[in-house]
Subunit: 281 residues, 4 copies
């Protein structure tokens, strides 16, 4: 539920979990009161995704107002942190670009299969990823029949991607991230380039890693997802092409489902012990 | 040329014809000074298109500031008023919807071939017809994958259409006009419905009327233009389907060329005695 | 369910109602066997929509193979024929254009509020209305950034519209129908022009007619639906503008839901006595 | 001019340069006869772009029929081979993806500024890049609202890119190339990732390299081209972001102009000694 008008106490009285659909930098003002009232919070903003308040301040241009709690928030990516989410009181729902990138890379970084210091993520998102702002850039006359990069290696989702990948890899990672704007309404597709040791079976690692996951579908060797495959679903589809010492990983999600509200519902299901796919199929 | 910054005197010194690319209600403040300096003016706004200042005020919500000159302005549709344009000092460049509608109907109304009291114009325009405003309606996320009518029988181009058609028909006309917004960048297509006497040969009348016109192309019986046929050109393409006592006329133009700047250049060529197609092919 | 591969007997054994999703001219070969086996049939093709086999043959270029049954088939538009559908064994699910046009006109023709001899339907449909054919016309490079009329007053849905409107009006109707192809995936919007007696309250008639209908939403005076309002729903949204002796009606549906499978489900619900909105909200 | 119907002798009689707009694998059947007649040929197909007939056969699935001439054909990229083009009798007009990639990389590979063994090209093209084939993939209903990779690191333009880059770099190059299909009509944008020595001034190298080129526009530090900047022009626009030991280069062209016919005209101008921009501005 959204909390724009209601006061924390009213909300707390009526629900055990709150979806905090507030803008970045505002969510951190509401969360503390809600948590104090004993409500569990799933925050859809970026406010509790970054562990280090200095990094947060650098990317969101405002000091964090609830810094002490950052290290207690659980990053709400069920495929990696399901057990923590189940017992969490504050879940930071991941960003759309990070969800797609991290799911594509987790099977390889968590076991050292690819070089963690040289990862290139070429990301493309539909217009809804830019929110509901009324700006010249988002006019039909500007975006239709156009395609462009933006915030080239300077997007605020980069520290979120780097933080989670580094934790998985057990060491610093080198990430280059370039987002682009597609002339379509919804969907993200990311083409990711990595280097690796000859002989490692990436396809096998990927399939094994997500074998039992309800919302990740790994494509057979040589096949890749397209945006049409995932829109209006909570799936992340992934395909791998292994070129010996290099590899290409292509992953796609619906930025508004698995990249936002769908994942929030998945997290809520886990927190309540509901079947994970409730309301998502 | 545009006159946003320059003063009338400077402009007058350097050119014999001025393209007044000013917003409606602003053009009428500049034109008088320019004309006094001996410059010819082609006004791309609506300020000099309507003869009756009361009608102007009703549709543009502002009293006309140069009302006396309204009856001297020439309506810049070369196919109908070429001789007047050649000797004009002030040309009111037609609106995009009116250009398309009037060209489609002129051959029939000027000779009484269709019922002037019952004309239906179903018009569809690309997004550029709405100008460069930054509004919610014109966002990619709003207009893409959508289609809608707007200003249903209440568009400010209606009095302009009615005035010219009535002059051609020699009596009052009854026009129903519904514009719609297409999810594409440029182009107008109008589907026009009329009633007629059985036996009148509309196809023949249409072909004869535009036989020597450089920028009107009449389609053979049974064929109709599409928007792709005319974008980036100064052509108006027209097709007719005669159903005995009823007929359908379909016409298409590029709203930014024949519906705006292309027609202005055509008018300038006529005023200077240049070949009419100069710069337009 | 689709019947492409299964044999009639197998189908009959397993279901009480069959959705016949077969191409026009093929459905009439399957329906007789299914009906003989005691199965109720909802035919999504055009094969049982037209009562007169001669009219069918003229528009579908093939003699009807089950002509005797045509007069027993029920036209599956619940808002008009709910009781007949409830007891029918063979329901002809309406075409997409006819669904939208008939719902927009029924309240007025059924009570003589508008001139039944002079109805103009300017229809616009998204690309999915053209089916899954692989033809040049439907290529992205052809349809994107384009808009065009097709089958101008010659579309095969015209006899279906005329037949139902004539039945409602109690006499011959005069319909002009021009379909157009929109550069978007789904949705139909029709702008309909009628003449009427001064004084008749069209808005009131429309609202009263659909007051209890679950899937028709009448807009308040001065408001009109857009395609975005109805896509992915089973609703038909309608707005009216009354101009005294003339009126404009604008209606919109999702051609794949209310214009096809959604309406088929609605019909099935009625035939089984289920809540009409089951599976449709 | 196209040669589909005319015979070589007829063509030769009337022109000094022939644009061979024939499909791949057909052009090599016509070129020898034309050259024998003393006509200069600009081949828009891929038939004379690859020097090694074995490589050609592997990628185009047909043995080369004019293999001896391959080493005499000049690669028609004016920015690199202007002098050779001026005196050439047979010019192989470059492919669209290679034009964009090679122009983006030439300033750095030709002087060893970036690592030639590790180049990643993430390419995105509008639908017209796929030609005029009537296939399911290119239907509006398939491509609209979709985005996907295709021929992942297996596109037939790869050997062309590799051959030219290797020649520039003076040694083997390692290229990963992934093309994607954009839901828009025309334009290519390529995002290219390279590694480099800290300290090298890429922006300076790029600006100097294209200082006098009429059709390459280098963006100032921190700015990048979008597809809208180059469609309907013969320009290649390029922007660079230098990250110390890595860099991102973004380049855009109109695939039908600088990526095809515009470049052919540019080559013809050079071969005739005309001003290079004749007909291209």
């Amino acid at each position: 539920m959204s909390c724009h008008k209601a006061q924390p106490r009213e909300i707390a009285a009526s629900c055990a979990v709150v979806f905090l659909a507030l803008p970045h930098t505002v969510a951190m003002e509401y969360a503390p009161s809600l948590l104090k009232l004993g409500v569990k919070v799933i925050d859809l903003s970026a406010d509790y995704r970054i562990n280090d308040p200095a990094v947060y301040e650098r990317h969101y241009q405002i000091p964090h107002k609830d810094a002490a709690r950052l290290k207690h928030a659980v990053y709400g990516l069920p495929e990696l942190y399901r057990a923590d989410i189940a017992s969490a009181t504050l879940v930071a729902n991941p960003g759309c670009y990070p969800t797609c990138a991290i799911l594509a890379l987790a099977p390889f970084l968590s076991c050292g299969a690819v070089d963690r210091t040289h990862i290139i993520i070429d990301a493309k998102s539909g217009i809804s990823g830019a929110g509901k702002k009324i700006t010249r850039d988002l006019l039909f006359g500007e975006a239709h029949e156009d395609f462009r990069a933006y915030k080239v290696n300077a997007h605020q989702h980069i520290p979120e991607i780097v933080q989670v990948l580094a934790r998985l890899a057990g060491g610093d990672v080198g990430v280059t991230f370039v987002p682009h704007l597609l002339p379509l309404n919804r969907g993200i597709l990311e083409t990711i380039y990595v280097t690796k040791q000859k002989g490692t079976d990436l396809q096998g690692l990927m399939s094994a890693f997500y074998k039992t996951e309800p919302f990740v579908r790994v494509r057979p060797q040589g096949e890749f997802p397209r945006i049409k495959d995932v829109v209006y679903t909570n799936y992340c589809d992934i395909g791998v092409r292994d070129e010996g010492t290099r590899a290409i990983i292509i992953a796609a999600i619906d930025n508004l489902r698995k990249g936002a509200s769908g994942q929030a519902v998945q997290n809520m299901n886990i927190m309540f012990g509901f079947p994970e796919h409730l309301g998502l199929r």
